[in-house]
Symmetry: C2
Subunit: 207 residues, 2 copies
DNA sequence: CAAGATTTTGACCAAATGGTCGAATGTTGG
DNA sequence: CCAACATTCGACCATTTGGTCAAAATCTTG
């Protein structure tokens, strides 16, 4: 298994990109190797020359997505200003939703189905990360820099609200008459989410 | 098309219940008529005696779910106290997530896939309903009983946070070590969501 | 440029699956 | 009790689809 050739790099990348689009649009079972190969501009046996099976493609793209997903939370800085750190984190997640909606939907689809492939990752690396960052949030609360809110639920709420704009895009488009593609809409959404969440967690004097 | 017999009522109900479980667990394409028939306790041809096709089953259960989904928002009362009305609405949605997680996941799965079946419903009935309720929220904001937040985004945030507990149950279970089944967890979740959202939208004196 | 390695593909296979059909079985009203 | 009707199901079919294989085409390199 030496260094991959240019052709290998290009084709693997084309397949991964096509697979994310296809899996996110049709789900694991709805996606077909033929369709992915078509989108990647090659024949099915050719695609299977690069990946041994449909599930292998799925695993590969899921792993790539999961790594991206982790990074914003990783960078939550215990020494920063709590509200500013959370503002930055939420903004980053909103941007990811806007920039890579298919990736978000593929991840969502895997979790919806009960996380058959990602369960182990969720129970180990993600759990550890959430435990770590919860401790930071708890210390901020102890210092009365945040309202006393269960940190785990705060993290869930941030995930829920930010990813909603990618995962439920079809619903949002329908309800808003298709506004969600425009730049203005994204800024509006980010502003509303930031406003509610940040106001919701700022320490309240009389409580 | 006379009144259905007892057998018809029972079998149709059994099929619908089995279909919700099967479709929500495996997605539209992953679900098989055989599996639904098994769960409903009958043979595949027998099931197809009650529904003409897989898609017909899917449409039927989706429609039932969508009707349930609408009702809590319908009851938002323009003459009630804004914060109390929203507290009631959010609590209702949290309870639906806890009580019928499969239904929530089936709905989510349809939207994730681009709402091929529900698009029309979303663009007509749901859009109208959201427009109506947005007007109520706007009037509350005008009366300074709520912070000035785009009503549509507030509604999206409520949907996102409440449905997250059903749709991403696998992730929540993994991260919390399986706590989400317990009653205490549900109460905790509801409290956190209510606290952040309600504090997030209460009018702020100096803004 | 030739030989070996890499990449590509048409043809094919086996399993899964949505759906049909006719015969058998059960139910019900007169 | 029986005739008409409703319900159930084993056997079957056609299509889709994940995956294989051997041969052809292309690329790389000494």
């Amino acid at each position: 298994m030496n260094k991959p050739s240019r052709i290998q790099r290009e084709n693997r990348a084309a397949i991964a990109s096509a697979a994310v689009r296809e899996f996110s649009a049709r789900g694991y079972h709805g996606a077909t190797i033929d369709a992915i190969a078509d989108k990647a501009g090659m024949s099915k046996p050719n695609l299977l020359y690069y990946f041994p099976s449909k599930e292998a493609i799925y695993r590969t793209v899921l792993e790539q997505i999961v790594e991206e997903w982790l990074s914003p939370l990783l960078s939550l800085d215990p020494d920063g200003d709590p509200v500013e750190e959370l503002r930055r984190y939420i903004s980053l997640k909103m941007k990811m939703s806007a920039d890579r909606p298919e990736a978000s939907r593929l991840f969502a689809s895997e979790i919806l189905a009960g996380a058959p492939i990602l369960r182990d990752f969720l129970e180990t690396r993600l759990k550890t990360l959430v435990d770590d960052k919860s401790a930071i949030l708890r210390s901020w609360i102890a210092d009365e820099k945040l309202a006393p809110i269960d940190p785990v639920h705060l993290i869930f709420m941030i995930w829920a609200t930010t990813q909603h704009y990618a995962d439920f895009e079809a619903q949002i488009d329908a309800v808003t008459g298709g506004a969600s593609q425009q730049q203005g809409f994204q800024d509006q959404a980010a502003q509303a989410v930031l406003s509610i969440l940040l106001n919701g967690i700022k320490p309240r004097p009389n409580a």
